[in-house]
């Protein structure tokens, strides 16, 4: 039972709030009392060395992993926990199921369903989870496939698609759920260099034209700088430094940030 965290956040609070979130794998602490707010329509990039906990931020928010301590709020109400007798207790699967659709995620390895076509991949969840009719779900899916430039490949199975095409379908699949917040987990890391651009273009247009709230873990420093409202630099499970892209890339204050940026920018 947790009574240190409120059962609801006051009106006007940010869309997503991490409040003292700790996540351990055995003896290893990957998130260490993390506090992080994401505002409506904000585009936040998370950067940092591997093992710094940046992907874990997305995985715990998607409820793929349970957290050990702290609370994550979405839309003013707790996500990882639920109210009980004046305090908070860990959420049941039923409670999670009622709220998880507010969040969408795109994976590094796409994770498309190989036995379904591109269209079926996008139709499945809206029909099953949101209860849309087939016509509505297909219309929505087709629009999104058009949006990501995959309309003509809607009847292809994933194995027939290139990595970039698969990732664009995966983006459409996540969007079809109309999530309040989109999580992008190193979406270009598994792609060949020549197709990275097509995926970035999709994200770029989503950001500029559709005003989505997005949290993006990325190694594409240039892209993060171009597109983000805010950039967080993670180090050892904590935010070592955050700020606007200009500030973080142009005038980093933290030693770790400087070292990291040197290393990756030199390599590029």
């Amino acid at each position: 039972m947790d009574t240190t965290h409120p059962q609801v956040l006051p009106e006007g609070s940010p869309l997503v709030r991490f409040s003292g979130v700790t996540k351990c794998y055995g003896p290893l602490t990957v998130l260490d009392k993390l506090d992080l707010d994401i505002a409506q329509n904000e585009m936040v990039s998370i950067i940092g060395p591997s093992g710094s906990g940046k992907t874990t931020v997305l995985r715990v928010l998607m409820t793929l992993e349970k957290i050990n301590d702290g609370v994550i709020y979405v839309d003013g109400e707790p996500l990882t926990h639920m109210p009980k007798a004046g305090g908070l207790t860990f959420a049941t699967e039923k409670y999670l199921h009622e709220r998880r659709s507010k969040i969408g995620m795109v994976f590094q390895q796409f994770n498309l369903f190989p036995h379904m076509t591109a269209l079926q991949n996008c139709v499945e969840a809206p029909m099953q989870v949101l209860g849309l009719s087939r016509e509505d779900a297909e219309e929505r899916a087709l629009n999104l496939l058009e949006l990501v430039g995959m309309g003509d490949k809607k009847d292809q199975h994933p194995t027939r698609l290139s990595g970039g095409q698969q990732q664009r379908v995966a983006i459409a699949r996540a969007l079809a759920m109309r999530p309040k917040v989109m999580l992008l987990d190193e979406v270009t890391s598994a792609l060949d260099p020549e197709v990275i651009g097509e995926v970035l273009n999709v994200i770029r247009s989503l950001n500029s034209e559709h005003n989505l709230t997005m949290i993006m873990v990325t190694h594409q420093m240039g892209f993060a700088r171009e597109i983000s409202d805010r950039v967080c630099f993670f180090y050892e499970g904590k935010i070592a430094e955050q700020g606007s892209p200009e500030q973080l890339f142009g005038d980093p204050q933290n030693e770790r940030t400087k070292q990291f940026l040197h290393a990756v920018l030199d390599a590029n």
Partner: protein, 223 residues
């Protein structure tokens, strides 16, 4: 001793009738194995140690001991505990359990063969567990399980002759009886061999085709 065609021709009807029994035994035994295998697999996957440990041990034990000894055990021991089973029932249950343990491993391997990331994708799309199994995991696990399931279908067919030792009147039993009656073993045993070959070769070939067809239908030339 020379091969006598007229003798072979004479015993052919009885051999064919017994072949029917062999196929029936294999079919019934396999059906039991498919269902039992599923139960054993689920038993091993439950989070309760009180269930999954004994089931795991049972599967290990049955898998590593000879079917022939198991048949004798059931045949001789069950009556001592007042369990009266016909030779057919005893045989079907034993062979079903034996191959059920194999199939439970096939199922387990197939489920584990579906990448963990598929589970995560389903969670990200907010599918329920039941729906995830039904629409995403099982359709992908099935083609993985199919070759193993096919192998054990042919396997159970080829192990049915062991049922002769406890008096199930299948093909081998009939060949034994014919040999004992006529003192001619060349024709009955050779015919048993060829009948097995004639049935198992096309079956194996058909199963390979089926695997390919399923893989194609799933748009899935597996990585």
């Amino acid at each position: 001793m020379e091969w006598r065609w007229e003798f072979a021709w004479e015993i052919l009807p009885r051999m064919l009738w017994a072949t029917g029994n062999t196929l029936l035994a294999a079919g019934v035994g396999y059906t039991i194995a498919v269902v039992l295998g599923l139960l054993l697999m689920l038993g091993q996957r439950t989070p309760y140690r009180l269930i999954n440990m004994p089931v795991r041990e049972l599967v290990e034990f049955v898998r590593s001991t000879p079917l022939l000894v198991q048949l004798f055990f059931v045949f001789f021991v069950a009556p001592q505990f007042g369990i009266k089973l016909s030779a057919w029932t005893a045989g079907m249950l034993t062979i079903g359990l034996h191959f059920g343990t194999y199939l439970s491993e096939v199922y387990r391997g197939a489920l584990e063969g579906v990448p963990k990331s598929q589970w995560e994708a389903c969670r990200a799309l907010n599918f329920t567990t039941g729906y995830t199994y039904r629409r995403v995991i099982l359709p992908q696990a099935f083609p993985i399980a199919l070759p193993g399931m096919g192998n054990y279908l042919v396997g159970i067919f080829k192990d049915t002759p062991l049922l002769a030792t406890i008096g199930v009147a299948e093909l081998m039993h009939t060949a034994n009886a014919l040999g004992a009656e006529t003192y001619r073993y060349l024709e009955p045993y050779t015919m048993v061999g060829f009948i097995f070959l004639i049935i198992s070769l096309p079956t194996a070939l058909g199963l390979r085709r089926l695997e390919a067809a399923v893989a194609r239908a799933q748009g899935n030339t597996r990585h």
